[in-house]
């Protein structure tokens, strides 16, 4: 039975409107994947970098999947939040990335986007903070129904992950 280990960390984020960032992450897999150990979603701390524009989280990720088939290879969906000087959090980016399928070490950069919203929203967010958010987070990682969204590019989230596969050869999957 094939297994996949995903070990690594959520390094940090850069290029967002504010460097005080935290990140909510969630691994999404298809029906053939069964999580044996580890947590598939979580949230990092809020990092307030002092001297550089990059927020470091170094948030550990450790998952162990048992798989029936390789359909639904895990993808990671991210939501980056920033905290302002008043302690309010606001969403600054949605991102999603497919995990690499080859075993070994991978440095991944996940570009993110943010909802544009209407002009009214922008004015409002200028004064009050925050902005439009997705009602359903599934949209981040699903391919459908994105055409309605108008988005603005946001920063990048860095990940470094090790992928360990087991028994893939046994089932004829060459990696």
């Amino acid at each position: 039975m094939a297994e996949v280990h995903i070990i690594g960390n959520l390094d940090g984020g850069e290029g967002f409107s504010s460097p005080n960032l935290s990140c909510k992450w969630c691994f999404e897999t298809g029906g053939a994947w069964r999580l044996l150990e580890g947590v598939k979603d979580g949230q990092t701390q809020v990092d307030h970098p002092i001297d550089e524009g990059i927020a470091h989280w170094s948030h550990p990720i450790d998952l162990h999947y048992a798989i029936k088939g390789i359909q639904g290879w895990p993808k990671l969906s991210l939501q980056v939040y920033s905290e302002d000087m008043y302690g309010r959090t606001q969403l600054v980016g949605y991102g999603f990335v497919h995990l690499p399928t080859s075993p070994g070490f991978h440095k991944i950069e996940c570009p993110t986007w943010q909802l544009a919203g209407s002009a009214m929203d922008q004015v409002q967010s200028y004064f009050v903070g925050s902005g439009p958010q997705l009602i359903n987070d599934d949209v981040i990682a699903s391919g459908s129904d994105r055409y309605r969204l108008q988005t603005i590019a946001s920063g990048t989230v860095y990940l470094s992950l090790f992928l360990v596969t087991r028994n893939f050869n046994k089932f004829g999957i060459e990696s």
């Binding site: 039975m1 053939a32 069964r34 044996l36 580890g38 048992a66 088939g69 209407s118 309605r148 004829g172």
Partner: protein, 1567 residues
């Protein structure tokens, strides 16, 4: 070329402009400027003229160009025609060409003549200018002109490009003329030079090139196409210095224009509509007229369309592009009619709910609403009877005639016969056409086209046959119609004659129309002929078919015949014995199939002819037209026979009236209307109804004087029908009532008519209309109905089958197949697609939907395999934190290596199974356990869902930053008075659950002191002996107590102190053992172990046998005598994190050899003790207390209580109020907390007061005497009963997550519950007894958060501990209840807002709002219904079962004691046991005093030293009893002569509540 020249002019203009400015500065005289102005005017005039000329020239140039283009094959047509906007530039070139004659340019021959005249004129004008300029500043004038156009030089549009060019040419001329003039400027020279250079560079051919730049679609000839454009862009930016570089760009290679001399090669289509062309040259037919869907053609300019058509017509092959309708074959417009831009609904605030007002037509939604005015107009014009009881026979016939005539006229109007005839004709034409197209080889199936044609042909012939038959039928009908009308008319005529008078005015007029025989005959013959042909063909086809079958049959038959022959031959060659039989078996040859007869065509013609004669009008016959008039004069009444007279009189007498009903309620009724002689009722009523309900029915009832004739439902008008456009409806009605008129000619109604025996019923027609009123502004006052169906078109399934049936797939499919939708219509596409799909799917019949049905096929491992993998299960179990697997550090690599692995399920089951033996209550207990588990699981799943929110303090260990308040406090501490002798405990920092690295947890017990311990009786032999002992200084000491703390079978003892009020002040440390050594919150919570505190008296028994050795030897034995004990469950310690206080010691009521009377030793009593011993009730407190402090090291944060919002059935208002109240209170009084909502067994929040309500205690506990009911003694009995119900900590049962409050009924059923349940039950019992009682929620010792019952009695307030059954008056200084948080009863909740919270100091007057904060403040409490049942039913305890249990227990305990004393021999004293056995029931009754006991035992005590005590406890299970006995250390008796006595008595109460008494003692023989 134009572009080339532009920069030059600009440059020169620039220079001139500069100069002009200079000049202007120099010359300022007015005359000059005036002249300049005049000059300008003139020039402008000439310009406008030239412009108009230009336009005329434009047309001509266009014509010219077209000619050129006709010759030029390379140029495409469409483009050139489009480039109209650019055309004006062309003549200007021509002008230029002419002007530049001298500079080697050849003009275009075609335009020479046209432009010369203009040129001449221009030249003339220029000369005039020149002359004037020669006189007065020539340059200036020109500049004045140029200046004006300069700005628009490069942004002029193509139409305006002519004038500057023109001027340009003028410039050239002028400059040329000025070359020799002396005052000529250097600029003009330069200009000329440049101009020349530019022109030299150009070839004459380039003109064509430039020209075609605008008109032609370029083919990539060279780079030169792009250059002009480029230069046009760049040149304005360059100055004159580098200009020379640019003209070199225009050295262009000669474009290879093919020369064409032959003129007819080119064809220019005009935009005139082309003649219609059809495929076969016949008349065009339009498919959409025949109802076939033809899509909308895309919008194309009609001129383009026409040109295309013309072009196509021109070529022979182009004709195939035309369809049968004579138009080009066009694909339908591919554009959607509706804009498909997606709606962006971003800015819709999701919090705003938009609700659509829904008007339904259901019974409840009949009301339209009064906001709109809706008026319905109902008009009833006339009622016409088609039969009336007063009809005479003639009337009957006339009405019959009228009907027939009406049918006749309608038939005439529709003229179906001729329509069918026409159709037949057109079909025949179509067949002919098809046959024509099929040509010579109509049956050549190889061509697909032919195949289609043949199929069509078959269809056509089929249709022709049908139409022909229908036509015949219709013709026949027409014929018979006329015939019947005439017969009826004849009947009427004869009737009128026979009866001698005329009752009706009906008359039939027949018109005959002569016809042309020859023409008709020809038609007739033709018709017959074609019919004959067709029939013949059909017959032939049929014959062919039959023949084919016949051939097949023949072939088969032949085969058979051959076979039989063969067989016969074979049998003949063999021996022939039974020839006949053989013959029979081999079979006779089956009869030869008969060939079908060839159809006889001879008789066919006759048949057709006779049929035609029968059905159709024979040629030459006149056409009959029938008309019904009412012109006959009716015989006046006087001339009629009396019977008729009577009838007519009856008619005059009879009258009717009508009633109008709207939605079955009567709206209005009409006055009586008399019947007219032609049997009509003229109502002429019109009613206007103001409508507030949806119209469901509009009914008109017709009443004769006494009876209802009929009811007629009028049409409910659609919304668009208003009074303006409403038509008169005619509605038929009939009535079945019977009327006869004897002695009159009236035929009556409902009775068999005399003429033909038919039963005629009163019937008729109502003429009326219903419509919505249209008001003055033209608005229709109809209610607006949101009818979905109305929005759909004709082919609308909702309309046809109703919206509800849309879900029913079968119905929809049926409808689709029935509706015969046009498959070409894109609107029907989804429906047809649906049909196709369902047809396809039909055999499969899939009734489920799978999202990813293909995914399974990609699996390489089945789900079961994955599920059953032991390693994976182990990993996930470990991950889930199942206790057994959680500590597992290593998991094997391979599944095969996973050996000792069992599923968690089996483990759990084992837990449940009971280990104790022989217990009658096993079943009950098992049920309880099962029930508990159920709830436990329910709660657990609930709490698992709500992951406890981590707080910052759970994650981050952070010391508080000292601020001003903490600093101040620490400074204040320095100044505080110190009490070194009264040390205060420091608050320790708590370790949170997440803290890692806890490897060892100890239980710290600080045993401080004990009070009022029983002292040894003086009679005790050992003491006597000891007092005799001269060496010991302890002669006065009556007690040597020490405390043993036992936890998890580990024990620790204090040192031995002296006296009945000893001080130990010793800290004992007991290690805490946890499963898997993991100190997680969940693990700690599950510890069910109990900490036992036992106080023993250490007795030194001197066992030195030889007194002589006393001086040198000490031989003593230490014996411990149990004095009392108490126990605290570890969970209580864990939850409260520390327990501190004075605990009441459970001292047996009688302790053999000990005395509780401390009165003898007043000097040993502290003042404190003295206080505690006296109570206001006058009784002496004989209880013993132990002061201890227990905590856990390191401090463990208790698991936070799950403050979860559960579902509730309470009113939301109450819930809100409760939350607000709690918040308000809990904020104010830090440590105290209130709760108004608790969780019940079903996991729902219930308001706390609902638990309280009077409930009946078991009958045996209710005293007969009412006065006795309130006595404390009786109440204590009840309290005892309650306390005997087993105790079950919720925190253990439900993982400490939450506190479950069970109802008393459930509590009694389960016989398990904690303080709340006990308190509630007790409180309810007290209420039943008529005592004002409340429940106090607060902190108690040792249980922590607890419940007490407060009763307000005559003696004062009494506090009851429900789990022990003890009671204390409130005034007593010491209470096991430490603090009171709030009280409640069935009506209200009172929160304690007094500065104190210990009950001794509290004021329990709840009316005092200063001291108590009420929940339902100010007003009467809303009597909330109780969740308790009003009457509790108790089951009788099974006495024989109890007796067995008793003996079992006794046996078990004895066995256990023997087991514990394995090193010694255990002897049992039977006699003592018997005595004890007798004592126990009396103890239960409470009627036994200590003296009685002593006297009862005196006999034994005379010979033995007896120590012993009775233990009374509730019965939950045997193991607790054993544990309790063990903890008394009775078995630790080292004396070899010791004898034991043990007896068990169980006193049964109702409902299996048992009071267990164990009397255990040791006896040692007195020496």
């Amino acid at each position: 070329m134009i572009e080339v020249q532009r920069p030059e002019t600009q440059l020169s203009l620039k220079q001139q402009l500069a100069q002009r400015r200079r000049d202007l500065n120099v010359t300022t005289d007015t005359i000059a400027s005036e002249a300049a102005l005049r000059e300008k005017e003139i020039l402008e005039d000439s310009l406008s003229k030239s412009r108009s000329l230009e336009s005329s020239k434009l047309v001509s140039s266009m014509m010219q160009r077209r000619q050129v283009r006709k010759q030029n094959l390379d140029q495409s047509m469409g483009k050139s025609m489009r480039g109209d906007g650019e055309i004006p530039s062309i003549p200007t070139i021509n002008v230029d060409d002419q002007d530049l004659d001298k500079s080697q340019l050849k003009p275009l021959s075609s335009s020479v003549n046209l432009s010369t005249s203009i040129r001449d004129r221009l030249k003339d004008r220029a000369k005039i200018q020149q002359d004037s300029a020669m006189q007065k500043e020539p340059a200036r004038k020109l500049r004045g002109l140029r200046n004006r156009d300069l700005q628009t030089r490069f942004d002029i549009e193509s139409e305006d490009s002519a004038p500057p060019e023109e001027k340009h040419s003028r410039d050239d001329e002028i400059t040329e003329d000025h070359t020799d003039s002396t005052n000529q400027l250097s600029t003009s020279l330069r200009w000329k030079m440049l101009a020349k250079r530019g022109k030299i560079a150009e070839e004459p051919e380039e003109k064509i090139d430039e020209y075609s730049f605008f008109t032609k679609v370029y083919e990539p000839v060279g780079g030169h196409e792009k250059q002009p454009k480029k230069s046009a862009l760049i040149i304005p930016e360059v100055d004159d210095t580098n200009f020379a570089q640019y003209d070199s760009l225009y050295v262009v290679t000669k474009p290879e224009l093919p020369k064409h001399n032959a003129s007819p090669i080119l064809f220019a289509p005009t935009s005139a509509p082309a003649e219609t062309v059809t495929l076969h040259g016949g008349a065009p037919c339009f498919l959409d007229d025949e109802g076939i869907y033809v899509g909308e053609p895309p919008g194309v300019n009609s001129s383009n369309w026409n040109k295309m058509e013309q072009r196509l017509i021109q070529t022979e092959s182009g004709k195939k592009w035309f369809g049968i309708d004579g138009n080009m074959i066009v694909a339908p417009d591919p554009l959607k009619q509706i804009s498909s831009r997606p709606m962006i609904d971003f800015d819709v605030d999701p919090t705003i709910q938009r609700t659509a007002k829904c008007i339904s037509l259901s019974q409840t939604g009949k009301f339209i609403g009064e906001s709109s005015v809706n008026q319905l107009s109902v008009s009833i014009t006339q009622v016409q009877f088609s039969h009336h009881p007063l009809f005479s026979k003639e009337h009957v016939l006339v009405s019959q005639l009228r009907d027939l005539h009406m049918q006749y006229t309608s038939r005439q109007r529709h003229n179906l016969a001729s329509h069918l005839g026409d159709r037949l004709q057109s079909l025949r034409n179509a067949v002919q056409e098809l046959q024509y197209t099929l040509g010579a080889k109509p049956w050549d199936m190889s061509k697909p086209f032919n195949k289609d044609c043949v199929a069509n042909l078959e269809d056509y012939s089929e249709e022709i046959r049908n139409v022909r038959e229908m036509w015949d039928i219709e013709c026949m009908k027409d014929k018979t119609m006329i015939r019947t009308i005439l017969t009826v008319w004849k009947e009427i005529k004869t009737l009128r004659e026979t009866q001698g008078f005329i009752a009706t005015n009906a008359k039939i007029l027949v018109y005959k129309e002569q016809t042309n025989f020859a023409k008709e005959d020809k038609e007739w013959q033709k018709q017959i002929k074609s019919t004959f042909e067709e029939s013949k063909e059909e017959m032939m086809a049929e014959y062919d078919e039959k023949m084919k079958i016949h051939y097949n049959e023949m072939a088969e038959w032949k085969m058979q015949a051959r076979e039989i022959k063969k067989r016969m031959k074979a049998s003949k060659s063999k021996e022939v014995i039974t020839e006949e039989g053989e013959e029979a078996t081999t079979g006779v040859l089956p009869p030869k199939p008969v060939a079908p007869a060839k159809p006889q065509t001879s008789s066919l013609l006759n048949e057709i002819q006779s049929n035609a004669v029968k059905c159709r009008k024979v040629p030459g016959d006149p056409i009959l037209r029938i008309e019904l008039t009412h012109t006959v004069t009716i015989t006046p009444i006087e001339e009629c026979p009396p019977v008729e007279q009577k009838r007519r009189k009856d008619i005059l007498k009879s009258s009717c009236y009508g009633k109008l009903f709207y939605n079955n309620s009567e709206v209005t009724r009409s006055p009586n209307i008399n019947l007219t002689s032609d049997f009509t009722l003229n109502f002429g009523e019109s009613v206007c109804l103001q409508v507030v309900h949806w119209p469901e029915s509009i009914k008109f009832e017709l009443w004769s004087i006494s009876e209802k004739l009929s009811e007629i439902f009028l049409v409910i008008p659609p919304n668009d029908r208003h009074t303006g456009n409403a038509e008169l409806d005619s509605l038929e009605f009939s009535s079945s009532h019977k009327v006869t008129y004897p002695n009159s000619t009236a035929v009556g109604s409902g009775v068999p008519e005399s003429v033909d025996g038919k039963i005629l019923l009163t019937s008729g027609k109502l003429f009326g209309s219903t419509a919505w009123v249209k008001d003055a502004s033209g608005k229709i006052l109809a209610p607006v109905r949101h009818d979905i169906a109305a929005t759909f078109g004709r082919a609308d399934p909702i309309h046809a089958i109703g919206a509800r049936s849309l879900n029913d797939m079968e119905k929809v499919i049926q409808w689709i197949s029935e509706a015969k939708l046009d498959p070409n219509d894109p609107r029907n596409a989804p429906l047809l697609h649906l049909m196709n799909r369902t047809r396809k799917d039909a055999p499969g019949d899939t009734k489920y939907f799978r999202l990813d049905h293909l995914e399974k096929s990609t699996y390489f491992v089945s789900t079961e395999e994955l599920e059953n993998d032991r390693r994976f299960s182990l990993l996930s179990l470990r991950n889930q934190g199942v206790p057994e697997y959680k500590p597992m550090k290593m998991v094997p690599m391979y599944s095969s290596e996973v050996t000792h692995f069992e599923y968690a399920q089996t483990e759990k089951e084992e837990k449940v199974s009971l280990k104790e033996e022989g217990d009658v209550f096993e079943h009950h207990r098992a049920a309880v356990v099962r029930f508990m588990q159920e709830i436990q699981e329910k709660i657990a799943s609930r709490s698992r869902k709500v992951r406890p929110m981590l707080e910052l303090s759970d994650v981050v260990v952070e010391d508080q930053v000292p601020d001003i308040s903490t600093l101040g406090r620490s400074i204040a501490k320095l100044l505080e008075p110190r009490h070194p002798l009264r040390p205060q405990r420091k608050e320790r920092k708590k370790v949170t659950n997440q803290a890692v690295g806890i490897t060892k947890v100890d239980l710290l017990v600080n045993v401080s002191q004990a009070q009022c311990l029983p002292i040894r009786s003086r009679t005790t032999a050992s003491e006597q002996r000891m007092t005799l002992d001269p060496n010991t200084a302890r002669s006065t000491i009556q007690l040597r107590p020490f405390v043993e703390v036992t936890f998890q079978r580990q024990s620790s003892v204090t040192h031995v102190a002296d006296g009945p009020n000893p001080h130990w002040n010793q800290e004992l440390v007991l290690p805490l053992n946890v499963i898997n050594n993991e100190f997680s919150a969940s693990n700690l919570r599950e510890i069910t172990d109990i900490v036992y505190f036992n106080v023993f008296d250490e007795i030194i028994v001197d066992i030195l046998a030889d007194d002589r050795l006393r001086d040198t030897n000490i031989h003593q034995r230490l014996e411990r005598r149990w004095l009392g004990s108490f126990q605290i469950p570890f969970s209580t310690i864990y939850i409260n994190s520390r327990i501190e206080g004075k605990f009441k010691l459970n001292v047996p009521s009688t302790l053999m050899g000990y005395n509780k009377d401390h009165g003898l030793l007043p000097h040993l009593m502290t003042s404190d003790m003295l206080l505690s011993q006296t109570s206001l009730t006058g009784q002496t407190d004989k209880n013993s207390y132990l002061t201890i402090f227990i905590t856990v090291e390191p401090p463990l944060a208790p698991h936070p209580a799950l403050r979860e919002v559960f579902d509730t059935n309470e009113e939301p208002r109450l819930i809100r109020a409760a939350a607000a109240w709690e918040l308000l209170y809990n904020g104010e009084h830090g440590s105290r907390s209130v709760r108004s909502l608790v969780t019940d067994v079903n996991g729902k929040s219930v308001f706390i007061t609902r638990y309280i309500g009077p409930q009946n205690p078991p009958n045996e506990l209710v005293p007969e005497d009412r006065n006795m009911r309130k006595s404390l003694v009786e109440l204590q009995k009840i309290a005892k009963f309650v306390s005997l119900i087993p105790y079950y900590q919720d925190s253990i049962a439900f993982s400490g997550s939450c506190d479950i409050w069970a109802t008393s009924e459930l509590f009694l059923k389960m016989l398990a519950g904690d303080e709340e349940e006990h308190a509630i039950l007790l409180c309810n019992y007290f209420l039943y007894m008529g005592i004002d009682s409340y429940i106090i929620k607060g902190i108690g010792i040792p249980e922590g958060e607890t419940c007490y019952v407060l009763t307000k009695q005559m003696e004062g307030n009494v506090l009851w501990n429900p789990s022990t059954g003890d009671y204390h008056p409130q005034s007593r200084p010491y209470h096991s209840l430490v603090s009171v948080h709030f009280c409640f009863n069935n009506e209200n909740i009172w929160a304690n807002i007094q500065p104190y919270d210990d009950p001794g100091r509290l004021d329990f007057n709840f009316n005092n709002t200063k001291n108590w904060k009420t929940f339902f403040a100010g007003k009467e409490s809303p009597k909330l219904s109780t969740v308790q049942v009003s009457r509790l039913d108790y089951t009788e305890t099974n006495v024989p079962a109890i007796q067995t249990l008793e003996s079992n227990l006794e046996k078990m305990l004895m066995d256990k004691i023997m087991e514990w004393r394995e090193r010694h021999v255990t002897r049992w004293n039977r006699h003592c046991r018997v005595v004890m056995r007798q004592l126990l029931p009396q103890l239960e009754m409470g009627s036994l005093s200590e003296e009685d006991q002593v006297s009862a035992m005196s006999e034994i005590m005379s010979s033995h030293n007896v120590t012993g005590f009775p233990i009374n406890m509730r019965y939950s299970d045997a193991s607790t009893i054993i544990e309790t006995v063990y903890s008394t250390n009775v078995h630790v008796a080292e004396d070899p002569t010791v004898e034991f006595a043990l007896t068990v008595y169980i006193h049964p109460y109702a409902n299996n509540v048992l009071s267990v008494w164990i009397y255990v003692g040791t006896l040692t023989k007195k020496y």
